[in-house]
């Protein structure tokens, strides 16, 4: 029974919204099979993984805290992916942002520096991430080197650089040789939103970014040039939009937001600089961006869902002794499912009469 795909000219909005939910359902089915294969009771595992975290006020806060970096990075990546530029090195830009911002925290450590420190750190973090993101952009524009591979290679370089700093010059001398910096001063720490819990001011920043990004992408000429450059590069060129400027712009925005996420995480929930400051946020945010349909509000929802896979993974690790890799399997399956579900939206599947090869 040969089937064929037929492109739909007008993609129905209902389909665009339904696709992520179909993908989620498929992921849950695959997850159930995986739990069975691991000898776990799927109902019990799902309860621990996905239901329990939503019922507990503490983990609910933790969910919001974990979704914050995913949201910031994911919104930045939406700029890139809409323009058909493939920055997959957000993890590295996140690390460099954290390092740039932390430099100020360490330089002012133990001094009388005032409340200007934290804002300056955030700016430095964003600048650092943007600068690091501009490297693959420059290499692409100037030399035509694939931004996919260069941005990814720079992730390893950034992580090794961070490792060097916290084991070498930036190590806390009174830290019993642990590879970590001193704990940041109060003026260099992202304040908590409430007395209790772990919700911090970075979440407010992320929400502001969502609002601004929604406006820029949806209502401005800049957003239009990004969209057009991605979907119809020749038309964009004829319309006078400069392809190179778009490349630099989207990489600066996504690198900057990843860097901001990095410094917020380090100056917030973590509190100092350590060799490992991310459980792969930069890569998970790629999934958040795709699942959220490259729309800031959609990414707001999807980053919450992906944060749930982190929290659930930690819970399952403790109570079911399941390896943390279960989370990666969920995330990978989710991305595969959303990519497949997209086809159902963009194409009609028809049966073909008679035999014809593909």
């Amino acid at each position: 029974m040969p089937l064929k795909l037929e492109r739909q000219e007008n993609v129905p909005l209902a389909g665009l919204i339904a696709a992520p939910f179909v993908a989620l359902a498929v992921t849950l089915v695959v997850g159930a099979v995986m739990f069975l294969a691991m000898g776990q009771d799927p109902v019990e595992a799902f309860r621990i993984y996905f239901i329990d975290p939503l019922g507990d006020p503490y983990t609910l806060q933790e969910l919001v805290v974990k979704s914050c970096p995913l949201l910031l990075i994911g919104v930045g990546l939406a700029f890139c992916y809409r323009a058909n530029r493939w920055n997959i090195g957000a993890e590295g830009q996140y690390v460099v942002g954290a390092v740039f911002g932390s430099w100020l925290a360490l330089a002012t450590h133990g001094t009388e520096a005032g409340p200007w420190v934290l804002p300056a750190m955030l700016v430095l973090g964003a600048v650092g991430g943007a600068a690091y993101g501009l490297i693959p952009a420059f290499l692409r524009v100037r030399f035509g080197a694939s931004e996919i591979l260069t941005s990814l290679m720079l992730v390893y370089v950034a992580q090794l650089g961070l490792d060097y700093l916290v084991r070498g010059p930036w190590r806390d001398p009174a830290g019993f040789n642990f590879p970590q910096s001193v704990t940041f001063d109060a003026v260099a720490t992202v304040p908590l939103l409430f007395e209790e819990g772990r919700m911090h001011a970075g979440i407010v920043i992320a929400l502001v970014v969502v609002v601004v990004a929604t406006f820029v992408l949806g209502r401005t000429l800049v957003g239009f040039s990004i969209e057009l450059g991605g979907s119809a590069p020749r038309a964009a060129a004829f319309a006078g939009f400069d392809e190179r400027r778009v490349t630099y712009g989207v990489f600066a925005v996504s690198g900057g937001l990843a860097g901001l996420a990095g410094i917020i995480e380090v100056a917030g929930p973590i509190g100092n600089l350590q060799p490992s400051i991310s459980p792969g946020y930069g890569f998970t945010a790629i999934i958040a961006a795709m699942l959220g349909r490259l729309h800031p509000v959609g990414i707001l929802v999807s980053s919450f869902i992906l944060a749930l896979t982190y929290i659930g993974g930690e819970a399952a690790q403790i109570s079911l002794r399941m390896p943390f890799d279960v989370t990666r399997v969920f995330q990978g399956t989710l991305l595969i499912a959303i990519l497949a579900a997209d086809v159902l939206v963009r194409y009609r599947i028809r049966r073909v009469e008679g035999v014809r090869h593909a």
Binding site: K4, L5, R7, M34, M38, W86, I88, L139, F143, G144, A145, S146, I148, L149, T150, L152, M153, L154, Y156, V157, L160, G161, D163, Y164, R167, G168, F283, I286, I287, M290, P323, F324, D325, V326, T327, R328, V329, F330, Q331, G332, T333, L335, I336, L339, A340, D342, V343, Y347, R356, H357, A358
Partner: protein
Amino acid sequence: MLDTVMIGAVLASVVAAATTLLIASLGELVAERAGTLNLGVEGMMIIGAAVGYATAYSSGSLLLGTLAAVLAGMALSLVFATLTIWLAANQVASGLATTILGLGLAGLIGASFVGTRLDAAPALDIPGLSDLPILGKVAFGQDAFVYASVGLLVLVTWGLARTRIGLILRAVGESHAAAHALGHPVRKIRTLAVMFGGACAGLAGAHLSLAYTPFWASDMTAGRGWIALALVVFSAWKPLWLLAGAYLFGAVSILQLHVQGFGLGIPSQLLSSLPYLATVGALVLISAMKRGQGAPASLGVPFVPDR
């Protein structure tokens, strides 16, 4: 004295490091010449390493382990093929998904084997030749994977350039519409090419966990899949250049280890980052010189037959 034994040992480890890269990049080259950019090499390689190790450890047979690794890489490549070739999904995103899924599955499979060890795949000395000074052991006293990588290189070079299948595969990669109009089954050919890439990545993973470092560690591929992808660009899609690239990168990654051993006061992290920096440098250099020449014209473009 930096004697001949020492030099021989260093060269032999360069060959071992290069072999992983050569096998994986040969597979990816075939997939790309057919027009599909599969960024899932890292994932297919690590699932090969995990499944290969688990099978070899449980069965006691390296051959069985290697076969299982090849099949595992191929199975994961089918996920990518289904998404991109049959469902016309974006190739970059699908490749990333393949890598993420592969890393996760490999972690699950390998979890119960952490801390175990295997006897590495034995060196197969070629009688007479392996007794030659210095280069004897380097060229003729290696494990089966090294010989297989050379065989694979010959097969791919000859197959792409001199056979009918190779010609059709290249036609599909250059212009899928024209190949389709001539009656070639574009999507089937691409699927087979991607599966070949998956098999090679799985084999490269088996080389890692069964011969090069005969144990399982999570994330043990450490970006080698990505470097293999970069090597394909570096080679300008010509198999013989992969040989040069793989050995160059093998040398960089081994030499930085030895420099770390000497302890010249250079931070070890800087040395460890050299292979990645060299990859960026090589990509820039080759892109600046060639400006995209040599890339298959239909690379990365999904094919949806209109009739």
